[in-house]
């Protein structure tokens, strides 16, 4: 197996210490290769550790335990040249497209800076051509966009410009943290379409972070459900959403209001997530306090990831299935997807 582009090995991130410590991500292992471009969605409620995962992958924060590796090297030990490559090959898109913009510069500045920094163009004309192509790729008319100031653009335009900017650098992987949660429903589809274009035409992989399973279903091949920093379920997106196996995933899916009058959405009573769960709960399954199927064993030890038909599920209801052993990263979710799906990216999840 070739060295993965980006790999997380038993990564744990704890914020704070002592009594007030928060485990934002716990023992998370995951790798993304580059043989086939793929889109992996990471979904979960707010506070489940999604942004922490993104920031770890981008090297913005360091793990409390475990390693994040770029082409086999721990991010903390990259050489200057490697770091430069890392900064180019792995790009980020964030929720708030406003944050990236300096209100006093025209948007051109945002687009020319990476070209200059990474010396991507040999001449001004060449740079201009690259920018125009990138803008056109995300469905923007360069003539309408260039020369404008940020406040003259709509939220959807701004977000697409940040995507164009990422595209300029010809990255291998883009980590998109809730890229559409601040844009309008009607523009959402347009932006997601730009992401798909980048994926299909330029072979760029995506980690698509969202709290919205509907968009995850629409664009991703694989789906990882996080609950309180722990993988609850992972597998091909369509499989996980249509046949959720973990009780938390099932709850998530049932909570989506649908136009179906038979759903009885208003009736089911669900335990609150409750704040300040005590340490005892942590020892068992993090979902135990809310789970309708909770068993004594759930309170005692955290369930491992079981390899069920079609997905990896961290729940004792599936204890008959084989576990995905620690360190055994050969189980690829791509393989789980079977022949039907195009995706065969070497996504591996372990715990």
């Amino acid at each position: 197996m070739t060295t993965p582009l980006l790999e997380l090995k038993h990564v744990t991130k704890v914020f704070g210490h002592g009594e007030g410590a928060t485990v934002a991500l716990s023992d998370f292992s995951f790798a993304i290769g580059e043989d086939a471009a793929t889109i992996v969605a990471v979904a979960g409620e707010s506070g489940s550790g999604k942004s922490t995962l993104a920031r770890l992958m981008l090297g913005f924060i360091s793990p409390s335990a475990g390693e994040v590796r770029y082409r086999g090297t721990d991010l903390r030990r990259l050489s200057r040249a490697e770091r430069r490559n890392f900064r180019r090959e792995i790009q980020a898109i964030f929720q708030d497209p406003f944050g990236v913009y300096n209100p006093f510069y025209r948007v051109d500045h945002l687009l020319t800076t990476p070209i200059k920094n990474f010396k991507l163009a040999s001449s001004r004309a060449e740079a201009r051509r690259q920018i125009e192509t990138a803008l056109a790729t995300v469905g923007l008319n360069p003539g309408e966009i260039l020369g404008r100031y940020p406040h003259q653009l709509s939220g959807g335009q701004r977000q697409r410009i940040t995507i164009a900017r990422a595209l300029l650098l010809r990255p291998r992987l883009i980590i998109a943290d809730e890229p559409v949660s601040m844009v309008d429903a009607s523009l959402r589809a347009t932006i997601l379409e730009s992401l798909l274009t980048l994926n299909r035409e330029f072979g760029i992989s995506f980690i698509y972070i969202t709290h919205d399973l509907t968009t995850a279903y629409q664009i991703s091949e694989q789906l990882i459900i996080l609950y309180r920093g722990v993988v609850a379920e992972a597998g091909p997106a369509k499989q996980v959403i249509r046949h959720p196996q973990h009780p938390y995933t099932q709850l998530l899916i049932r909570s989506i209001p649908t136009p179906d009058p038979g759903q009885r959405w208003m009736e089911e009573v669900v335990a609150s997530s409750g704040e300040g769960t005590d340490a005892a709960v942590w020892q068992g399954c993090p979902f135990a306090s809310r789970c309708p199927h909770v068993m004594p064993m759930c309170q005692e030890e955290r369930p491992p990831l079981y390899l069920t038909e079609g997905a990896a599920v961290s729940c004792y209801l599936y204890r008959e299935s084989p576990t995905i052993e620690e360190g055994d990263l050969t189980v690829t979710l791509g393989a789980l997807a079977g022949a039907g799906s195009r995706g065969n990216g070497s996504i591996t999840v372990g715990s």
Partner: protein, 339 residues
């Protein structure tokens, strides 16, 4: 002719031909352009539409909270036969929260960050009691008030200790519950909820909507729910009004609208709903909404409408009752008017 204004006699709130305009430097935006609907006693009514279609503007207009450069340019807002649009500001102030309560859009930031939850509930209660009794301190003792706050918080599923907290110490769902507690504090007959859950995850969203449904049932109040999520509308409201470009395209009982949408825009909205059963992954709404500064002639939807025909660009369609309790504004139904 049957128009929307004659929908039913037993209405709590009757909105007639409401118009709201914003006078911007680049021209006049007719954000709400002749909207009529009724809110019946105890019912849940939904207003759904794309962003910019004028939903929040309607909510603010009903509360008389439109700020310059905007103004209510016409129409009547009849609350039990009293026209709120014509009420003096002082009188309107005593209507707010006491008779019509608003849970604003973006409830994440709707609480004053430097005041405790308790104070933010009490100041609303006291403002109205003072008004009524004319005294500066109102009639209640501090103990009574705190007990009332605790009861309110418990009725929306929060612990009474939350009263002492500051907003930043609460999760998004808890903040939204506090907003609901404030909204029901004076037992209003109408609760307007503007996208109350758009910032929350689905699990919390459902809990909040259940809470809202429960308090509404207890008060016997009517709820006007504003949103863009058709699925949420389907699960929560009894009747729904579909907004497009500052106008109502269609009004009807939720089940009937989902079973058989009449207006081409409603048809488009419903067919583009994402579904986990379908294999096709992406359905986009065709076309873009028009610029609010220069709306198309005739029917504002005609440039995007797959079924547009001759009268559409020429004449503005009127909202009519084409079947019992089904109101549509579309030339396709010009011949189908019941009499």
């Amino acid at each position: 002719m049957t128009t929307a204004t004659t929908q039913t006699a037993a209405a709590t709130l009757r909105v007639e031909d409401l118009r709201v305009q914003f006078h911007t430097p680049r021209g006049v935006v007719r954000a709400v352009d002749g909207v009529s609907f009724t809110l019946r006693p105890g019912e849940r009514f939904g207003l759904v539409g794309e962003s910019g279609s004028g939903k929040s503007t309607i909510a603010l207009a009903l509360m008389r909270l439109i700020k310059p450069p905007g103004r209510i340019a016409g129409g009547r807002i009849l609350l039990e036969d009293e026209d709120l649009a014509a009420l003096p500001e002082d009188a309107m102030r005593s209507v707010r929260m006491a008779r019509i309560a608003l849970i604003p859009q973006g409830a994440m930031n709707s609480l004053n960050p430097v005041m405790r939850v308790k104070q933010q509930i009490i100041d609303g209660i006291l403002a109205h009691e003072r008004e009524r009794s004319g005294s500066r301190n109102g009639s209640r003792s501090k103990r009574d008030l705190e007990e009332r706050v605790a009861e309110l918080l418990e009725s929306v599923g929060l612990r009474r200790e939350v009263a002492e907290r500051y907003p930043h110490e609460l999760s998004g769902g808890m903040k939204q519950r506090v907003c609901i507690a404030i909204a029901i504090a004076l037992r209003p007959s109408i609760i307007i909820a503007d996208e109350p859950t758009s910032a929350l995850d689905v699990v919390v969203q459902r809990q909040i909507m259940q809470t809202l449904g429960a308090v509404q049932a207890r008060l016997g109040a009517s709820v006007l729910l504003i949103g863009h999520d058709m699925g949420l509308m389907a699960q929560f409201v009894d009747r729904v009004g579909v907004m497009y470009g500052g106008k109502l395209a269609e009004i009807g009982p939720t089940r009937e609208i989902f079973a058989e949408p009449l207006h081409p825009y409603t048809q488009m909205l419903i067919s583009s709903l994402p579904s986990f059963d379908r294999e096709t992954s992406f359905v986009k709404l065709a076309g873009q909404p028009h610029s609010p500064l220069n709306p198309p002639s005739g029917c504002v939807f005609h440039p995007r409408c797959p079924r547009a025909f001759e009268p559409c660009p020429a004449r503005v369609p009127v909202l009519r009752e084409v079947r019992p309790d089904r109101f549509v504004s579309c030339h396709l139904y010009d011949g189908a008017v019941e009499s």
